[in-house]
Symmetry: C2
Subunit: 333 residues, 2 copies
């Protein structure tokens, strides 16, 4: 069985998209900076969070819009129903990270081959039914390529955790297991032996909605892990103006991952599409967090701590480990 590449030896493939050159990344980064200048409302959270948070009367509405493009975010032969599921799930994962309960979605759909469209609509129906959601509106257009967008709207019952609230002394946690979806993508590409458990994690991510809602009052910062654990932890550290010590050996891996990739933790922490929750919380919340994990049947694993300083520091069994050249998937806001 092929193994995942060894740490440091070569880059872990990004989620399908061809890696961009530095120039393209810096150009995109400049573009996103220019958008940030337009995000003047506090509700926008400076475009630095997973979602916008709008105060409406006494309520907090959480809004997110994520897109997926064929050949970039999904494979052309992925089943259309799975593409629909993923489009819904990636957006709901942003709501989960803000502790919001989804209310509904608006769809932006590019029409194409009729059979594909029909299967997509069925899959969308199944995804919305699974989350007990209604389609609220949207648009269908003719377009030369498949680019699908979804706006998800949620309601938060209490304060909405940001990425920027972590404080030195907080512990850093992650839900579930890391790296499965990235390994599932490799399995689909024939780079690993087929594994239905891993492929399922890639194609049918489960947004941690209940966990997010119940974690929201306990955490100091929270976000979803979509672009790779390391890059997302780095973003949380940057937003919170603190450093993060992350212990590679504590990163939770599934049995399916270990069977397919062994102990290749660098591959796991730099692959995208986990859609788990990454959160910082004060040490006195440990009993509440462990009790909640037990109730949910979803592990929360302590993977590090927030510290004075800046940036991400990796260790493995107590020994420092240099950061890999890429921390994850850089693309997108």
């Amino acid at each position: 069985m092929p193994k995942c590449p060894s740490p440091m030896l070569r880059m872990v493939p990004l989620p399908i998209a061809s890696r961009q050159g530095e120039k393209a990344v810096s150009t995109e980064s400049a573009f996103i900076d220019s958008l940030r200048a337009l995000a003047t409302d506090p509700a926008a959270r400076g475009l630095l969070d997973d979602a916008a948070v709008l105060e409406v009367g006494d309520e907090r509405l959480v809004l997110t819009h994520d897109m997926i493009a064929e050949g970039v975010h999904y494979l052309p032969d992925d089943p259309p129903a799975d593409v629909a599921w993923k489009l819904v799930a990636v957006n709901l994962s942003d709501l989960a990270a803000k502790g919001a309960r989804p209310v509904g979605v608006l769809l932006g759909f590019t029409l194409g081959e009729a059979e594909w469209d029909r299967a997509f609509a069925q899959g969308l129906g199944a995804a919305l039914a699974a989350f007990r959601l209604s389609l609220l509106g949207g648009d269908t257009v003719a377009a030369p390529a498949r680019v699908l967008g979804l706006t998800a709207i949620g309601r938060a019952a209490g304060p909405v955790p940001s990425r920027s609230g972590a404080k030195p002394g907080d512990l850093l946690w992650v839900s579930g297991t890391i790296g499965d979806a990235g390994a599932g993508l490799k399995a689909l590409r024939g780079e690993l032996a087929p594994s239905s458990a891993l492929i399922e994690r890639y194609r049918n991510p489960r947004p941690r909605l209940e966990a997010g809602e119940r974690l929201a009052p306990l955490v100091s910062a929270m976000m979803d892990v979509s672009d790779g654990l390391l890059i997302d932890a780095h973003r949380l550290a940057t937003a919170s103006a603190c450093g993060i010590d992350l212990a590679l050996d504590s990163v939770p891996l599934s049995e399916a991952y270990l069977a397919a990739c062994g102990e290749d933790r660098i591959a796991a922490v730099t692959a995208g599409d986990d859609y788990e929750l990454l959160f910082a919380a004060a040490p006195d919340t440990v009993p509440a967090l462990l009790a909640l994990a037990e109730q949910l049947g979803l592990p929360f694993t302590r993977i590090g701590a927030c510290v004075q300083g800046a940036g991400l520091m990796l260790s493995d069994h107590g020994a420092p480990v240099p950061l890999p050249p890429s921390l994850g998937f850089e693309h997108g806001t």
Copy 2:
């Protein structure tokens, strides 16, 4: 100077997109029907309205998501700043039709040529500044084609007019003038002599936000005219389960339109991109409507009446006129 095509002699070109065959339209229509089945929440208004209306506490939030694609909704050599304007304006026009004041937008952007992206961001900034809006969030993705999406969020101070409230006896009105944008597109294509006034209407539509907000308490039904006056009037009639008598000779045409196209009213009423307001209101609102038009400096013209029955009936100086084979731009939800 070339004239617009004579009524009935040939079809008015659709907004850029190549006309689809009947099969494609019926396939799309089946697809949209399958989406409608997913719109179970009353907030979705059955996907039959311009926007979703979400009750949040004591407030009504109005949400819309429209997309535009290169070569379909705008010309590849349209200035990127105008594309940004149009993307904002078409969405705000939906809010205007629901009497909602815009609160912010989420952008779905496909990255492309850096210079174009930069000019788009500048144009987006100018558009948002013109409407005093903040970018609240969104997504940027690499994609093989330009497909731009925008979600606009608005607040309605009072009841939100639907398309379905028109009653027999109501008068039918339209704001501004009709057909200018369609003629502007023809001018850009070289089918008409250049006219900066008409091209401006095509490239820089002005959503009737203040008018919409102030009309909302007066009307029984309201929508924006985006796909052609006839097709949109037909939709209003269908949604309201009434018929509409529409007097072609009363349709307001601008001086620029008359100079370019003469009295070609069929071209005007079947062309898209007007972004005016079409509304039905009881006869006793006439004085209030005329006073409001005066205050706004925006004409409201009575173009017909809602009647018992179904469908759209056209007349010209009192004589019946057959409906043209296409009432407007059929594409999209």
